[in-house]
Structure formats: C-alpha cells, structure tokens
C-alpha cells in the first residue's frame, strides 16, 4: 500500500499574505485542485555523491580567494526526517545565504554593504545514511529590503531539499534563536503561529566545536512516502 502524507496546510503560509507585499500579485488565488498521488507524485529525482565536491559543505572555504571570510564561523547540523518519523538518507540539501555584512553575491543585490571576496554563500551536501547533515559557514547578517519602511530581514539561511519524491520538495529558510527581527518579518510571520518555531534553529553547546565554531541544530521534516515499488 502506497502512502504519501498530504501537504499540511496548517504548517504552511497562505499563498496571499497581505503583510508580505509581493505575495499579493504572485500568490495562487484560486483553490488548489486536489488529486490523488500517482507515480509522478511518488517518484522524483535522486542525486548522489557525483554532484558533491569536497568543499561544497564548507562555505567558510568554498569561496576563498586570498584568505578567510570575515564573520562569525558557525556550523549547522541536523537530521532530515519524513513526516512518518523516518530519517531521510542520501537526500540533497542546497543552501545559500548573505555574508556576515548582510550582502548576497547575487548580482541583483544592491544593498550598500561590503561583498566579502572570500565568501560565496552557496553550498550543498547529502544527508548520510542516518539522515544527518552538516554545513560549516559564516553567520549571515541582517539586511534591509523594500517591503515596508525600515524593513529588515532577520538572519537566515535558505534551504532547498528534494526528499524522497517530487512531492516532498521543500524550500525554506532557517532562522536563529533570539533574533529580535523575527517579530517584524512578514515572511516568517506569514507562517501559522503554531508552526513558526520549526523554522528557528537551536543553539547547542554540544555540537559547538571547541575553539572553532558555534553550533546550531536545524532538524527538517518533509512529507513522507511509505511505498512499495510498482511492478507489473
């Protein structure tokens, strides 16, 4: 018996969230049409070590040109689970983020904060056989954006996951505990209140590496598939 857990709309923001201005013209406005999952929904792309380079998981090193990137060195680790509680092994995680000054490498980012020539801010890794992953990076800075007067994005890292099938696809953002900007951020606040704290990583002295990097734990839960192969 094949089972795909549903998209839990009590965990995700409404498509149109008026405080987040650009959602008003870009969010889906009509009701979604429900369909029962078929093979197209139960399957999806899988990538292996062939797409992972030796420094892809270490953003403190993969953009170096002539020295160390500036900023507070951190590590982010956690386990990817599916909603049924099973760790998701060998699944691809891609991340991107601003540098310590709150500036992206992206050509469109015009924020007047310095580019760090030694920091790219993008990486990827696979979860291990137990669903665990780890990135080293620099703590991203906050930055202003045009949503409303004096709008600032809280410190965050963008995460993209594939999970076991195309229906478990997840793009999200990881935040940091105690960030005062969270209370003012329309993107974070668009998430139903009961689900918001799942977006906030946890500081952990246990995973902090002595003398090297502060450690944050961010566990991620994607939709679950409990499936037997289709044969005929």
């Amino acid at each position: 018996m094949t089972q795909l857990t549903k998209r839990d709309w009590s965990s995700h923001a409404a498509f149109i969230s008026p405080e987040y201005k650009s959602s008003s013209l870009r969010g889906v406005s009509q009701n979604l049409v429900k369909i029962d999952p078929e093979l197209a929904e139960l399957t999806g792309p899988a990538f292996g070590q062939e797409v992972i380079g030796p420094l892809d998981h270490d953003l403190t090193k993969n953009g170096q040109v002539n020295g160390e990137p500036i900023g507070e060195r951190i590590l982010v680790t956690g386990t990817v689970f599916d909603e049924l509680g099973q760790p998701v092994p060998n699944t691809l995680i891609e991340v991107w983020q601003a540098n310590a000054a709150g500036r992206y490498v992206h050509k469109r980012d015009q924020h007047d904060a310095p580019i760090d020539p030694n920091f790219l801010g993008a990486g990827r890794c696979l979860t291990d056989e137990n669903g665990r992953y780890k990135f080293y990076t620099i703590k991203p800075g906050a930055y202003p954006w045009g949503n409303h007067p004096n709008a600032w994005r809280p410190n965050h890292i963008h995460f993209s996951l594939l999970g076991p099938c195309i229906s478990s696809r997840l793009v999200t953002q990881m935040y940091f505990p105690g960030d005062p900007l969270l209370a003012y951020d329309p993107i974070y606040i668009a998430t139903p209140e009961a689900a918001r704290e799942r977006l906030v990583s946890e500081f952990s002295l246990d995973v902090t590496e002595d003398g090297f990097a502060l450690g944050y734990i961010f566990n991620i839960v994607v939709r679950g598939v409990n499936a037997t192969p289709m044969e005929a």
């Binding site: 995700h12 870009r26 009509q30 049409v33 078929e38 991107w96 997840l170 793009v171 192969p229 289709m230």
Partner: protein, 199 residues
C-alpha cells in the same frame, strides 16, 4: 512516530547562485539545468517554453521552474517504478531546472523528450513546480500536450478540473525550424490563472 512538516518559505529573489548558478553565469556549479536529454535517449525531442505572469499580467523575471517527467515509455527513473518492461534510458533522469531571469523575454525553456503516458487510460504530462519571490509555498501544476486531444479527454486528473480552466494546462504545439515546441505560460492569477494542484 509522526512529526510535523517544516514550513515552506519563499525561494526569495537571490536563488540564482544557489540553485541555478551556471545558468546565471556564476562561478559555482549547479546540479540540474534545462537540458534533459543527455546521451542516448529514446523519444521525440521537444522544447518547452513559457513565461510566468503575475496578477498584473507582468512577466516574472525571478521565477524558478522545475520539471519532473517520465521517459518516452512512460517510466520514471526512480526505484518505485519497477514495471516491466523496464525500458529505462539510464541517461534520462527526467528532472530539469530553469530560472526566468536570463532570456530577453523572461521565458523559461527545457529541451527534453515527450513523455509517454505513465498509466493506461492517462494522458502524458509533465509535472511543473513553480517557485518565486512572493510565493511562500511552491505550486504544483501539470503540463499536458495540445496534440493529445483524445487522451486528454479521457484523463482522470484533467477531468477533475472544471472544463473552462483545462486550457490553462495545455501546452500548445507548434513546429519550428529546430523542431517541435510547446508553449506553456503560467499565470499566477487573473482570468487565465493556471490550475495548481494539491498533490
């Protein structure tokens, strides 16, 4: 033990160097692009192209489109699809990514093969996933083919869609000097709003 889903958040305006670095000419690499045919792959070569429009009818210049599809025999490159004959093109993954920010008309395009029907009685289709700044959760739709009228007529998923909206899921075929091309525009809102699925 059941756990709660991690909430979705928008892909934001700066995904290009994270997810589609080579397309946008950053120095780092990407895991997927818009060229799905690599090596020996059976099936009719097609190009899919389209634009993404917001509620004002303006073309979106920072959308990310992903596709997932079966091969020409209607088989998915995935362990759950063990149907025989397992005519898998090992070189064909069936997954592509393209951002709308690198072509002058803000279109996306994919060079791929036309998939076969994945099940008897179903029309062939391609799963399309839409991400962009302003979209807090990604949206799923399906691309069906305009030249499959009778299969489309019988398709159980298309049949769930109110008749006046079905046309939003039909990619229109035209023959070009470089081969068949299917036009598939995506409208986030408005009278022509694309049908999106809760899958």
């Amino acid at each position: 033990m059941s756990m709660k889903q991690t909430p979705s958040q928008t892909v934001g305006p700066y995904f290009a160097y994270g997810l589609t670095a080579q397309q946008y000419r950053y120095a780092n690499t990407q895991i997927a692009d818009n060229q799905l045919v690599k090596g020996q792959v059976a099936g009719e070569r097609i190009r899919i192209t389209g634009q993404v429009f917001d509620g004002n009818g303006a073309a979106v210049d920072d959308a990310l489109i992903e596709i997932w599809q079966a091969n020409a025999a209607g088989r998915f490159n995935h362990p759950l699809d063990q149907r025989s004959p397992r005519t898998l093109d090992t070189d064909f993954l069936g997954y592509g990514r393209c951002g709308t920010g690198t072509s002058s008309d803000l279109s996306f395009s994919f060079d791929t093969i036309k998939p076969g029907a994945a099940q008897a009685g179903h029309a062939p289709f391609i799963t399309v996933v839409v991400f962009m700044r302003g979209l807090l959760s990604h949206a799923y739709t399906r691309l069906y083919f305009s030249d499959e009228a009778s299969a489309n007529q019988a398709d159980p998923v298309l049949s769930k869609v109110a008749e006046p909206r079905r046309a939003t899921l039909l990619a229109q075929r035209k023959e070009t000097g470089t081969g068949p091309e299917y036009q598939f525009d995506i409208h986030m809102q408005g009278a022509e709003e694309t049908v999106f699925f809760d899958v």
